[in-house]
C-alpha cells in the first residue's frame, strides 16, 4: 500500500536586517515596508545608529528576494 506523503510546510523564515540611519532614512524604510506589504509583514524598530527591519514573507516570493527588493526601495526612497 503506498504511503501518503504529508504536504511540505512552506518555509516562512523571518529575516532581520539592520539599516544604518546615516544611509537609510526611517521614513523611507517605513514607506518601503508599506509598498511591499503585499509580499511580507514588516516590523520596523530600532534606536541608535541602526533601524531594524524584521521581514516575515507571506509566501510566493523567496524571502531573500523580498528582502533585497525592500532594501533597494528603502534606498530609493532615501534619496
Amino acid at each position: 500500500m503506498a504511503t501518503k506523503k504529508s504536504p511540505k510546510k512552506t518555509s516562512l523564515k523571518k529575516l532581520s536586517i539592520k539599516l544604518h540611519r546615516e544611509i537609510y532614512k526611517e521614513a523611507a524604510v517605513k514607506e518601503a515596508a508599506r509598498e511591499y506589504s503585499a509580499l511580507a509583514d514588516f516590523s520596523i524598530s530600532g534606536s541608535g545608529a541602526y533601524i531594524t527591519a524584521v521581514i516575515t514573507p507571506k509566501g510566493g516570493v523567496p524571502a531573500e528576494r523580498v528582502e533585497a527588493e525592500f532594501v533597494n526601495m528603502a534606498l530609493c526612497n532615501s534619496i
Binding site: 509598498e35 533597494n72 526601495m73 530609493c76 534619496i79
Partner: protein
C-alpha cells in the same frame, strides 16, 4: 669688429587660464564619446580627450571645440546671464502659457474594436455614452473661462463622428465664443474615418478642423489590430485619406491649413515591420509618421501578454524606422517622424513644441484638460483613460459645478506638478537629456509609483533611448542635415502642388 652676440630676452608668455565651465550634464554615447548638455538647451558631443580637457577645466580658448562650446553656453564668462535665462524661458515657454489644449470626449461609443484601445471604447449602439448638447455647452463655457488666449479644442472618442449632432453644435458654439472673447481657437479631431461621409468631410474643411487618424501599417497588420465589424478598417482609412487629399487643394485656396495626419500604434506584431510601415505611408502620400509606442491603459492592459514589449524592443524598431527615413530623405523622398520632430524642435531650435508630456513640468491640468462625455473633468487624457478602468484618482470635478480656479488649486494638480518636475526628480535632475525630455506621472502611477525607480522605468528607458539615437544621428553631418530639414514648416509643400 665682432659684435657681441646677446641672448634674446626671454619671451614673456601670459598664462591665460582656461575658461571656467558653467553647469552641465553628461551622458556616455559609446565609442568613447560624451554628450554634454546644459539647462538652456546647449549641447555638444565630445570625444574622450575633449571631454577630459573640458571636465578638468583645461579646455582653453585655443582648443578646436572652444567656439562651439562657448556659443552653446558652456562657459561662465561667455554664456551671458540674461541670454541663458532667455534661452531657458524659450525652451520651456509652454509651461507659462496656461491651459491651452482641451480634449472633448464626444462619445466613448466606437464602431471599431482595437486591441490597444486606451479609451476602453463601448459598442456603437449605446448612446448613453454620448456627450449631450447641454454638457457640451457647459464644457465649452468652462474651456473659454481658462487663462489661455490661443486654445486648441481636440475632439476625441470613441469615435467622435458618431456624435455628429454635438460635434456640429460644439464647433459653432466655440467659434461664436472665440469671436466674442477675442480668443483664437484651433480645432483638431481624432477619428478612424470609417463613419465619414461627404457632408462631414466638407464640414471639416469649411471649419478648418485638423484631422488625425490611425494607420498601423499594411492591411493585414492594421485590420488584425483594428477590428471593424463591417469589413476592412484599413480599406476605410485608405479610402478616406485619398478622398481627403483629393478634396484638400480646393479648400487650400479658401484658407484650410491642415494636412491629414496619421499615427501608428506599435504593437509587438509591428516591431519587425518598420520599413513596411513607412512604405505604406508613402504609398498614401503621407509625409509624416508618428510611430507611437503602446501606452499601458485600456485594452492594452488586458492584452499585454499578446501585444506588449519592453523598451529595448521598441528602441530597436525605432532605430530601424529612423534610419530608413533618413535614407529615404537622402534620396530625395521627404518624410519625417513626429517624435523626432518634436524633440528636434527643442534640440536644434531651442523652442518649446508644447508637447504635453515632453515638458519640464507635465502639462496635466496646467497645460491640458480632458472632458469626458458626462462633463467630468480630468487632468489629461491619461487621467480619463484610468477612469474607464475604474480609477478616478485624476478626476478634478465636473463642468456643472467646478471652476477653473478649483481645478488649478486641486491637490491632484499640485501632485502631478511635483511628480513631473524634472528639476526635483531623482534620475531626471542630473540627466543629460533633461532639457529635452518629460515625464508622464500618470504613466508612472499606473506602473506602480508616482516616483518610479528610473532604472526600472520602461518609459524612461524609451525616452532616453530615443534621445540617444537622435543625438547619435546629429553627430553625423549628413544625417543632421536631414533631421534639421524636418523643422522647416513648408518642407513638404511640394507634395500638394496647386
Amino acid at each position: 669688429m665682432k659684435t657681441k652676440k646677446t641672448k634674446p630676452a626671454a619671451a614673456v608668455t601670459e598664462v591665460v587660464p582656461a575658461p571656467e565651465t558653467g553647469a552641465y550634464y553628461f551622458e556616455p554615447m559609446g565609442l568613447g564619446r560624451m554628450l554634454v548638455t546644459n539647462d538652456w538647451g546647449g549641447w555638444a558631443v565630445l570625444d574622450k580627450n575633449e571631454f577630459t580637457a573640458f571636465s578638468s577645466g583645461k579646455l582653453d580658448c585655443g582648443h578646436p571645440k572652444y567656439a562651439e562650446l562657448s556659443e552653446s553656453g558652456f562657459f561662465v564668462e561667455s554664456a551671458g546671464f540674461a541670454s541663458c535665462a532667455e534661452k531657458f524661458a524659450n525652451l520651456h515657454s509652454s509651461v507659462f502659457a496656461g491651459t491651452t489644449l482641451h480634449i472633448m470626449i464626444l462619445t466613448i461609443r466606437c464602431n471599431q474594436k482595437c486591441v490597444y484601445c486606451h479609451a476602453s471604447a463601448k459598442g456603437e449602439e449605446d448612446k448613453r455614452f454620448d456627450m449631450d448638447v447641454e454638457t457640451a455647452r457647459k464644457t465649452l463655457d468652462f474651456i473659454f473661462a481658462s487663462a489661455g488666449k490661443n486654445l486648441v479644442i481636440e475632439f476625441q472618442g470613441g469615435e467622435p463622428f458618431l456624435n455628429w449632432e454635438t460635434l456640429l453644435f460644439s464647433v459653432k458654439y466655440a467659434q461664436d465664443k472665440a469671436a466674442k472673447l477675442k480668443k483664437s481657437v484651433d480645432f483638431k479631431l481624432v477619428s478612424n474615418l470609417s463613419s465619414l461621409d461627404e457632408e462631414k468631410l466638407h464640414f471639416i474643411f469649411r471649419n478648418n478642423i485638423g484631422v488625425a487618424t490611425s494607420l498601423d501599417g499594411p492591411a493585414k497588420l492594421h485590420d488584425a489590430q483594428r477590428v471593424y465589424s463591417r469589413g476592412s478598417s484599413h480599406a476605410q482609412v485608405v479610402s478616406w485619406i485619398k478622398k481627403f487629399n483629393k478634396a484638400r487643394p480646393r479648400y487650400l485656396k479658401k484658407g484650410y491649413i491642415y494636412r491629414i495626419t496619421a499615427l501608428a500604434t506599435v504593437t509587438r506584431q509591428a516591431l519587425g515591420s518598420a520599413r513596411a510601415l513607412v512604405d505604406e505611408y508613402l504609398r498614401l502620400g503621407l509625409r509624416e509618421i508618428y510611430a507611437r509606442p503602446l501606452n499601458p491603459f485600456g485594452f492594452t492592459a488586458a492584452n499585454w501578454q499578446r501585444i506588449g514589449y519592453g523598451a529595448a524592443e521598441y528602441l530597436a524598431f525605432y532605430r530601424e524606422l529612423l534610419e530608413y527615413l533618413i535614407t529615404l530623405n537622402l534620396k530625395g523622398v521627404k518624410i519625417r517622424e513626429k517624435t523626432a520632430q518634436t524633440l528636434l524642435t527643442k534640440i536644434l531650435s531651442g523652442s518649446d513644441p508644447a508637447h504635453m508630456d515632453c515638458r519640464m513640468i507635465c502639462g496635466a491640468a496646467i497645460g491640458q484638460l480632458a472632458y469626458n462625455y458626462n462633463g467630468d473633468i480630468y487632468t489629461c487624457d491619461e487621467g480619463r483613460m484610468l477612469s474607464v478602468m475604474g480609477d478616478e484618482s485624476f478626476r478634478l470635478g465636473n463642468v456643472a459645478d467646478t471652476s477653473y480656479t478649483q481645478v488649478l488649486e486641486s491637490p491632484v494638480t499640485k501632485t502631478l506638478c511635483v511628480s513631473s518636475c524634472l528639476e526635483s526628480l531623482p534620475g531626471c535632475s542630473d540627466c543629460a537629456f533633461k532639457p529635452f525630455c518629460g515625464v508622464c506621472p500618470i504613466n508612472s502611477y499606473f506602473s506602480g509609483s508616482l516616483f518610479p525607480q528610473k532604472a526600472n522605468d520602461q518609459r524612461c528607458m524609451m525616452n532616453k533611448g530615443i534621445l540617444k539615437i537622435i543625438f547619435e544621428k546629429l553627430s553625423r553631418p549628413e544625417d543632421r542635415k536631414v533631421l534639421a530639414s524636418w523643422l522647416n514648416e513648408g518642407w513638404y509643400k511640394d507634395v500638394f502642388k496647386k
